[in-house]
């Protein structure tokens, strides 16, 4: 549904995006993570056909972002980073205006405006001026605008940034329901917990380049090693940890044993069986939770080190007299 190949964008002599390759099938949420100034917003703008790529190509809903900008914009719903709204319009007028620009018929307009305003709890405020709404309500209104024309592709820049926990949960629910509706969704966010909860795919961007990409589980394995498991016994055990040939034990505290395995489906049942046979009363086996944040920080540190090495290698050594 959305595909980008080596997208790059330069403003005069500044490269905001250097190399972005992404693919988001229908029914998938991809979280684009990266520090401020990494190129997330520029990438979204290129995918929305607002900025023309300097290099590379991208297709949204089957339309080329460089050669078919009007078609791309008709098929994409964008929640922009700076989503200031027209303060003197009422909530209803605001959506009505955009519905007209998206060529919705009278009946479609009324149905959809009512549906999204009701969904986000804004229907009772439909005659209020936008200027009088709270920040979170305005964000929900902006999101309603992005969804009004039922686009197959959604590009959401910080969709829950200004929201209270309840509203944020509502938006996350909306995103999950839109995913199940076979839409391709790209979310730019700094909220790694949210990314982990929502995203099927994660891409980490740094200085305009995608430096890591995959499912959250794949990235964790790649950057933090195989998953770690903890087995807890009913009673404490004095002495050395039980010997388990071929298993990488990482920790032992007398009642729990931690180990890593890259094949948990095969090894976990075998380990439990072996321990039970030796008289250990296993009460719990759990995967040690690992945060996406750890992956993100590791990727960033690794990328920074690589950039430093490349810069050092490029600097000629001083001549010795």
């Amino acid at each position: 549904m959305l595909k980008a190949e080596h997208l790059a964008k330069a403003f005069d002599d500044f490269w905001a995006v250097r190399d972005v390759t992404l693919e988001i099938p229908a029914g998938t949420v991809l979280a684009l993570l990266g520090p401020n100034g990494a190129g997330k917003t520029t990438t979204v703008r290129m995918l929305a056909s607002v900025l023309r790529p300097t290099r590379g190509r991208a297709w949204v809903a089957g339309y080329d972002v460089s050669t078919e900008p009007l078609a791309v914009r008709a098929h994409v719903g964008v929640l922009t980073e700076h989503h200031s709204l027209y303060r003197r319009m009422t909530v209803y007028e605001y959506l009505d205006f955009f519905a007209d620009l998206y060529r919705l018929s009278g009946a479609q307009k009324r149905t959809r405006i009512e549906r999204w305003l009701t969904f986000f709890g804004l229907w009772d405020f439909r005659n209020h001026r936008v200027g009088g709404l709270s920040k979170g309500m305005r964000q929900k209104l902006a999101l309603s605008r992005a969804l009004l024309h039922e686009p197959p592709v959604l590009l959401l820049d910080e969709p829950t940034s200004a929201m209270d926990p309840e509203s944020a949960r509502r938006v996350r629910q909306a995103i999950a329901s839109l995913r199940s509706d076979e839409r391709a969704i790209l979310i730019c966010t700094h909220n790694l917990t949210e990314a982990e909860a929502l995203a099927d795919q994660v891409a980490i961007i740094r200085r305009g380049r995608i430096v890591a990409q995959g499912t959250p589980a794949e990235l964790k394995t790649r950057y933090l090693g195989p998953p770690e498991f903890r087995i807890t016994f009913a009673r404490p055990w004095d002495g050395r940890p039980p010997a388990l040939p071929g298993v990488r034990v990482t920790r032992w505290d007398g009642q729990s044993l931690w180990y890593r395995t890259s094949q948990p489906r095969v090894e976990n049942p075998a380990i439990v069986r072996a321990l039970v046979q030796r008289g250990f009363d296993v009460v719990r086996l759990e995967e040690v939770p690992r945060a996406l944040e750890d992956v993100y920080l590791k990727v960033m540190a690794q990328a920074a080190a690589e950039e430093h090495d490349a810069a050092t290698a490029a600097t000629p050594a001083p001549e010795v007299a």
Partner: protein
């Protein structure tokens, strides 16, 4: 609704048109324009900061003008000079019509720059509308309210003047005043829109507003004088000129309006290092030597100029013919004895020529060296270039035509005096150095026309700054690589060869 995987063969469908052609059915194209206009007008009508001055200027100023008119009439009636007052009434109409337009300037300057500053523009930029629809929607919405206020103000003053003094303008006068007000509104707004699309903030847009206000203020004074003299014919030329400028400005605005510029331009700091690099790269290219530069840069550049050169050549011929025709008409009206009495003294001219050896010396009686001639030409070309850059090349080309019309006039004068034939005039006095100088002028004018046209040409994905610097570099290539060397050689010929040829011819 299920969209499935639409890449790349399957294409999702939606209600909005998916290509510019999707809009190409007459009125359909204008629908989004109307939607934008409606929203903007609604917004303006809810903003007291716009409404208050607009109502004030529309209703208060006609009253003030009426008071002024009454006082003026009472004053001039004491001297039986009612005509003067009546001649001033149209000026009052023009002023009353102009004041509400000053509001439109503020709204227009704010239109893109303000939306960009407030962050409301991005949702509009991602909507499925073309750049033209967006731009025209904004332009019309800015134009409508102040223009209606302007007409209302004029109507209010007309009614009051009629009720208080019985004065009524004739239809021709009313038409020209309304046309002037409308044309000025369109020029001001299209100019302000260009500024607004290129400015990074409302503050910078306001700073650039003087580029519009000063010429319009001067124009208003000029129109007032012409109204006083009832030169309707000239005023209609003004209307025509203003409309041409408005079309050019709208074209410029559309050509350089791009979503990219509105979103990508975050800094308005002057980056001289980048500007110099961009200019230098476009000027020199990758040429390893001067010879390669001429081959790789100047050659293709000259080939691109073929059409404007042809146009320039035609314009210079027209200038010569026009100059000769005007001079002939003028000289025919001058009696023979008066003409003879005012012709320069032939002996004195020859003496000047012998003493200073320069064709300039013929009339001036001063020494003109090769350096003097060259520097004079460079100074003139610099001023012409400046005028051309500020006027889409038009003023520059007109200024280049002036010396050629003088050459035509000179030919007519010398023919009438019977000093030499037209062929002798051109072969002896003009062509020795003109054979180098005239191609230089043609090239200079052609490159200036192309540079001027760059204002109204799309920037093709570049920033306006980069686009303009590259166009300037292409112009500079022609000037530095061809025009100045030609003028330098021409000044050598003009200082050393042409006077000797002229002396030989005139001494016969």
């Amino acid at each position: 609704m299920s969209y499935g995987d639409a890449l790349p063969q399957e294409r999702a469908q939606t209600e909005a048109p998916t290509s510019a052609k999707g809009y190409a059915r007459g009125l359909d194209w204008w629908k989004p324009v109307a939607v934008i206009v409606r929203r903007e007008l609604r917004d303006q009508s809810r903003d007291w900061r716009i409404l208050t001055p607009l109502i004030g200027l529309t209703l208060f100023f006609p009253m003030l003008m009426l008071f002024t008119a009454n006082r003026m009439l009472a004053f001039v009636q004491r001297f039986g000079a009612d005509l003067i007052a009546e001649r001033l009434f149209p000026f009052l109409l023009l002023i009353v019509g102009f004041f509400p337009l000053s509001i439109s300037l503020v709204i227009a300057l704010e239109s893109f720059a303000g939306e960009r500053e407030r962050g409301t523009i991005e949702p509009l930029l991602v909507a499925p509308i073309t750049d033209g629809q967006f731009y025209l929607g904004k332009l019309l919405s800015v134009l409508l309210l102040p223009l209606v206020a302007s007409y209302v103000g004029i109507a209010a003053l007309l009614l009051s003047l009629y009720l208080r003094t019985g004065w009524r303008p004739d239809l021709a006068l009313l038409m020209v005043v309304l046309a002037l007000v409308t044309a000025k509104a369109v020029v001001m707004i299209s100019g302000a829109m260009v500024v607004s699309t290129q400015a990074t903030s409302v503050r910078s847009a306001n700073l650039l507003a003087s580029l519009i206000i000063i010429p319009i203020a001067l124009l208003l004074q000029n129109e007032a004088t012409l109204l006083l003299w009832r030169r309707m014919d000239v005023l209609w030329y003004y209307v025509f000129g203003l409309l041409v400028v408005a079309v050019l400005l709208t074209r410029t605005g559309l050509a350089h309006f791009n979503r990219e510029g509105l979103l990508g331009r975050d800094l308005d700091a002057l980056n001289l290092a980048w500007a110099w690099r961009t200019f230098k790269d476009a000027f020199w290219g990758h040429a390893p030597s001067l010879r390669a530069w001429y081959r790789e840069q100047i050659g293709p550049n000259l080939r691109e100029l073929r059409l404007p050169m042809l146009l320039m050549f035609g314009l210079l011929i027209v200038a010569v013919l026009l100059g000769a025709r005007i001079a002939e008409d003028f000289l025919q009206a001058v009696p023979e004895d008066v003409l003879r009495a005012n012709l320069p003294d032939r002996e004195e001219m020859l003496a000047n020529l012998q003493r200073y050896t320069s064709t300039f010396s013929l009339l001036g009686g001063r020494r003109f060296t090769m350096t003097g001639i060259f520097l004079h030409n460079v100074r003139a070309l610099s001023l012409i270039a400046l005028a051309g850059m500020l006027s889409y090349g038009v003023a520059g080309v007109l200024l280049l035509m002036v010396p050629f019309s003088l050459l035509g006039a000179g030919q007519a004068l010398l023919l009438r005096a019977g000093w030499m034939s037209a062929a002798e005039y051109w072969l002896a006095l003009v062509l020795p150095h003109g054979i180098l100088e005239i191609p230089g002028v043609i090239l200079f004018g052609a490159s200036l026309l192309r540079l001027g046209a760059a204002w109204a040409s799309p920037a093709q994905g570049q920033s306006l700054g980069a686009f303009w610097l590259r166009a300037l570099a292409r112009w500079a290539q022609i000037v530095v690589g061809v025009v100045l060397p030609l003028f330098l050689l021409a000044s050598v010929v003009e200082a050393w060869i042409t006077p000797r040829v002229a002396l030989w011819l005139l001494s016969r």
